[in-house]
């Protein structure tokens, strides 16, 4: 969240104005109408990034029972990220594809697409989530304010923070163990010793 993004209300308004086309059923096999992989691919290329057909295949695979909500969130995110502000922000180096794939998967575990659009808090969560995953904070907010608010709103973000915390602790444990090894104590050559 090092960069300042757009106004939060701007994105929340866009979310509330999501066209019905983006709420249609994602195509999975013979079912559904919207080819999510095509939408995501178009969006990425519009932003100057090409994820490649192999990566996009993940948006056409799965079953309605397990993947429907994930793909619907990807569609909703595609609508949000097609906002003109994101185009001007230059997302070529930003983790756009991970947001559309992994980010959508995380959000889908904690609620439906309809909830993300109609519930004011979930709408705010979605807007903040998009900005944060792309390295932005809402306009007028400090990084700390933005992080606190997102963590308090978003179950997905809380889960991410928890995973990161566990990973950090695991890493610290590995470092401590590595430093404690006898092999490490044997050290390596220096031309002088302090």
């Amino acid at each position: 969240m090092d960069r300042e993004g757009c106004e939060l209300s701007h994105l929340m308004r866009r979310i509330s104005e999501t066209p019905p086309d983006f709420l249609d059923e994602p195509r999975l096999g013979e079912q559904g109408t919207v080819a999510v992989s095509a939408v995501v691919g178009d969006l990425c290329r519009w932003h100057g990034a090409d994820p490649g057909s192999a990566a996009l295949a993940a948006f056409a695979m799965g079953t309605p029972k397990s993947d429907r909500n994930r793909l619907r969130v990807s569609l909703l995110l595609s609508w949000v990220l097609a906002d003109g502000w994101f185009r001007t922000a230059d997302l070529r180096a930003a983790p756009l594809f991970p947001l559309l794939s992994q980010g959508a998967s995380e959000l889908s575990e904690h609620g439906s697409v309809e909830k993300l659009i109609t519930d004011p808090e979930r709408r705010e969560e979605l807007a903040r989530f998009c900005l944060a995953r792309l390295g932005f904070r809402p306009q007028g907010e400090s990084r700390a304010q933005a992080e606190d608010r997102l963590t308090s709103l978003s179950a997905a973000e809380r889960a991410r923070v928890l995973r990161a915390s566990r990973a950090a602790e695991e890493r610290a444990r590995a470092v401590r163990e590595a430093l404690a090894r006898k092999a490490a104590e044997e050290s390596a050559d220096k031309y002088t010793r302090e």
Partner: protein
């Protein structure tokens, strides 16, 4: 866990290196080597170290101002992204002065929080210091970092017109200790064509006969002798016929009288290094300058007061380090516990070096200086002129008798480590 093999200790060892190790270990006068160690450098590592040595040789040490450190912004962003301690603080501040200072205690509490995510756990090594309080502190490091010390030694030696030449079949360095118990081993240095490296304890208990110390050293004829003033005092007592090209002194202040005695005995420059396990060689004392000159081009040295405010030149404060070459422990505003004042002189010619140089200014009994070479600036660190003992035999005792020994330890970067 099993003992490391020779292949792990010396991944690039050739037959020449093997013969050198055998010679060092099996000489009739060789001491008891209590430990095993090695360079642990892979072929890729050796290439990396050589490239780093070229970089250091060509680099200028910039003026010690935040604005002059072109590497600083990217460094801070990386540290705040990869180091758990700093990541928890949020985004990287735009100014270094907005970063909180840390000290030895912070590292001692849990050094793992200061190791970046990118540091390869499988190759971590440690250096252990006991510090002023006697509490041990582990410093995370890497074989590449250890091997990179030599780049800064070369830079320091170049100020005295010394270029290292030891090659295959010769002994590059003998590291000397003088402790009841000391980490001792033999190795070879791949970047010097497997020249020998030996870490010795001159304490008589490690030798069959006390006289073997002299015989062994004379037989090895090391190009460089490295040690601390205590071990150098013992070395003088041996009256060995040695002709090293330089002596490197670390761990505590080298008194002028001992320096003169060593120079007289060995007819070579004696380089007093300000070096810390936490940061490696930071500065070298140049008598012609009257202070210590900085060695690292990617390190910013601040002199801070107790509140963390940068002090103007001439005022005495704590040496605080940012940057460095230990990628396993990047330092950001690390308070060393060493107190100096800094002065700046310009446009005085250096010995054998291009550009300009300064003299030094005494400040409250301590001398420091900051130098400019051409458009660069070499900074000083620590220095503590103290009453010089008159005779050799008193030198070591005097070093320990000085007031505020613990602060002196800090001022000199003494590690009083198990390594000696």
């Amino acid at each position: 866990m099993s003992e490391p093999s020779d292949l792990e200790r010396y991944p690039t060892l050739t037959e020449h290196g093997r013969r050198m190790l055998q010679r060092l270990r099996e000489h009739p006068c060789a001491p008891m080597f209590r430990n095993e160690s090695g360079n642990r450098l892979t072929p890729d590592d050796v290439a990396t170290v050589r490239a780093f040595e070229r970089e250091v040789a060509e680099a200028e040490v910039p003026e010690q101002r935040e604005e002059s450190a072109a590497w600083l912004t990217e460094f801070l962003q990386r540290v705040y992204r990869e180091v758990p301690f700093y990541r928890a603080l949020g985004g990287a501040p735009r100014r270094l002065s907005d970063v909180p200072t840390i000290s030895r205690g912070d590292l001692g509490h849990d050094v793992a929080r200061f190791v970046p995510d990118s540091a390869p756990v499988a190759r971590l090594i440690n250096f252990r210091t006991s510090g002023t309080t006697g509490h041990p502190l582990l410093i995370a490091s890497h074989p590449l970092v250890a091997a990179s010390y030599l780049a800064f030694h070369r830079r320091a030696l170049a100020r005295f017109g010394v270029t290292l030449r030891a090659r295959r079949g010769e002994v590059g360095v003998a590291l000397l200790g003088y402790q009841r118990k000391c980490f001792t081993y033999v190795s070879v240095t791949p970047t010097l064509d497997e020249a020998g490296l030996v870490k010795l304890n001159l304490y008589p208990d490690d030798w069959r006969e006390p006289e073997d110390r002299r015989k062994y050293l004379e037989e090895l004829a090391p190009e460089v002798l490295a040690g601390d003033p205590i071990s150098f005092v013992e070395l003088l007592k041996l009256r060995a016929e040695l002709r090293p090209r330089a002596l490197l002194s670390t761990s505590m202040a080298l008194l002028p009288a001992l320096r003169r005695a060593l120079e007289g005995a060995f007819h070579c420059p004696v380089v007093d290094l300000y070096s810390l396990n936490e940061a490696g060689p930071v500065a070298a004392f140049d008598p012609a300058c009257g202070g210590h000159v900085l060695l690292q081009h990617r390190m910013l040295v601040e002199i801070l007061d107790v509140r963390g405010k940068a002090l103007p030149n001439g005022e005495r404060g704590e040496v605080t380090l940012t940057g460095g070459f230990n990628f396993c422990l990047p330092l950001v505003r690390y308070r060393t516990g060493d107190f100096v004042a800094r002065s700046i002189r310009r446009r005085v010619r250096t010995r054998g070096a291009r550009g300009t140089r300064s003299g030094a200014l005494p400040h409250a009994g301590r001398r420091v200086a900051e130098q400019h070479r051409g458009d660069s600036r070499l900074g000083p660190v620590r220095a503590a002129p103290v009453p010089a003992p008159a005779t050799r035999g008193r030198l070591a005792r005097a070093a320990c008798r000085r007031p505020r020994l613990t602060r002196i330890r800090a001022a000199c970067g003494i590690a009083s480590a198990v390594w000696g």
